[in-house]
Symmetry: C2
Subunit: 117 residues, 2 copies
DNA sequence: TTCGTAGTTTGACGGATGTCGTAGTACGGT
DNA sequence: ACCGTACTACGACATCCGTCAAACTACGAA
């Protein structure tokens, strides 16, 4: 290391700072909803690049940041990789059942879309 | 009447056309969330002007349209008044529990905000 | 028919958003 | 020390969003 003591810290909102409007806005984008669904399905921390997205890497970075700054995900560095996890505890404490309900709704819609072309 | 047979028809999406992303986006705005909460609390069809909003009338019209076009509310004319109701049935059929969960979350957040200034 | 009330439409404007490409930074391995 | 991988930062761009004011339309009442 050269100068930094805590090389790459990522700003996260504290639990009390998480706003419902921001969470809903974060989940309202198809790419971000895909990220969240993938994280929920994996049920473990995931590397950013483990989630295939139909956008470039800079756009991915943008979406991950929106999710992080709204309080939906938590991100930490592990070497060059950046691990991402859903903030299930905080979200469930603030907005009980919201995330599971949205995930179920997304699953239903996805199933309907698949059936009807 | 002069020419029109069905004077003022308002376009609503059919149940199958309602998209989760659009619903979440509609709910992600503070003014619109206030509208939805007020409708849910009233539990009956409401006149537009019965909901006091911190914006001008043209902005209100805009927000009501976003809610209607996303499938969250249904609007019908009754004379000069425009009645508005939540599309509880359709939303619950498509995304079970989503609307109640969001409303509960909004209530919790509002209570927290009130307590902590 | 005239007026007032209720809501719409249009145009404008500033700010946010989603997207990309290019250049840059941080870390691990050779 | 060097290189490659992984992700970030910045700038650009088109679009969308929330807001307003002003002009307009529709209906009911006097």
């Amino acid at each position: 290391m050269t100068t930094a003591t805590n090389p790459r810290a990522l700003p996260h909102p504290a639990r009390e700072e998480i706003r419902l409007e921001a969470v809903l806005h974060a989940l309202a984008d198809p790419v971000r909803l895909l990220i969240v669904r993938t994280l929920a399905a994996a049920d473990v921390e995931l590397n950013c690049s483990a989630i295939e997205l139909p956008v470039t890497k800079s756009t991915s970075t943008h979406h991950f940041r929106v999710l992080r700054e709204s309080g939906v995900i938590r991100q930490t560095y592990q070497g060059t990789a950046k691990m991402t996890a859903l903030r299930h505890d905080d979200l469930d404490a603030l907005f009980p059942g919201l995330l599971p309900t949205v995930l179920t709704a997304a699953g239903h819609q996805s199933a309907r879309d698949t059936v009807r072309g």
